[in-house]
């Protein structure tokens, strides 16, 4: 299985919505 590791998740907000079964990314929002 490929894995998106935490180094590549830096400086972007990662949003988990289990109820709506979707994952969101907000680049640049964690400055």
């Amino acid at each position: 299985v490929g894995i998106i590791g935490n180094t590549q998740q830096q400086r972007m907000e990662v949003i988990y919505d289990v109820a709506k079964s979707k994952l969101g990314f907000v680049p640049g929002s964690c400055a």
Binding site: V1, G2, G5, Q10, M12, D17, L23, P27, G28, C30
Partner: protein, 430 residues
Amino acid sequence: AHGAAGQVNHLIETSSFLPATTCSSSISTIKDLENKQSSLNIVHRHGACSSLFLDEGQEKTKTSTEFDPEEFLKHDQMRVEALHFKLTKRSANTQEQSAKATVLPVQIGASLGTANYIVRVGFGTPAKYMSLIFDTGSDLTWIQCKPCSKFCYDQQDAIFNPSESTSYSTINCTTRICFESQYATGISPSCGDSASCVYGIQYGDQSFSLGYLVNETLSITSTDVVNKFTFGCGQNNQGLFGKAAGLLGLGRHRLSIVSQTLKKYGGRFSYCLPSTSSSNGRLTFGAQKRLPSSVKFTPMVKDSRGPSYYFLNLVGISVGGKKLAISASVFASSGTIIDSGTVISRLPRTAYTSLQSAFKQFMSSYRSAKPLSILDTCFNLTGYKEVRIPKIALLFKGGVTLDVDPSGLLFIRSIEQVCLAFAANQDDKD
């Protein structure tokens, strides 16, 4: 780093590669952290900001300078191997189950390895706050508990003492939740003293926790409280947990904090990971009032090989603005998960080879350097004040293009050994 939209590269000052020795956080007290509603501070447990979580008068015991990159990457590889092992085992079990419907799958052992971000939450009444490893790749939350009947490692905070809490209760070993805990831990629970539920969880690096499954009040912040939260009260805890008091499991199993707070937060949480070991991030539970217009959503996928993991569909990669010629089936055959506890992204070998080749081509004016553990695309940037590296974007199902921040492209041991922060799986089927 600069990298305006439309440009194909990032211009990075090499001075930014040096680790900071002081915490750049604007949040300076534990009280501040505990009063932020539904939002927790995240720090790197080896970084300068982990001292934030120490009480006044305590000395910081580990600094970022003590961190050994090779050891760190070795643990990351152990975690990845454990994830692969668990998923393969689950897949094999499913096939076996369909042949023998009455046989329950026995899932001994490995869950994951070391995760590196910590958050601070409170347990009990009155709440005792402690630092936990934060992990979307596991489900069971556990902390070290007195009387530590077998073994507790040294931790920063005082070890939780159930006898000092008015809201603590044990769980009977005949209950459904006790039985189901095996799907969160990989190990069948057993009955202890007074029919208490005894859990065990072992991680990929052989670290483990063993103790009682219990209910207790969990304070996410001082004003945001979850009653009867089920977690592990560890009596025998050994391994690579650093000074953390335990682990906060954010996976998809019904025992995870996400599932246990489903009514309260609607199964929604988000995080910003610290971009350096000396800065802060945040973990927030619940929906945001207004989503930023720049948000991009991709479907979250369920996969029977690992129902606790957050699968998503990676469909392509671009380097320097050009999409690599990788067939979508390369990604589809293995699947992809997103994990807060794995450090370096792993790609199917075919995809990695293509990424490596394009990256090397773009970086051809820089000297190569020897590999660093699992990272085999490294450069010696001695003598450069600024370097240009190509933009890398991950393409997900639904037309989502995710430009990886420049801070997420390189893993830096020193200016002589700066490596592309991606690695390959053994083969495309991993």
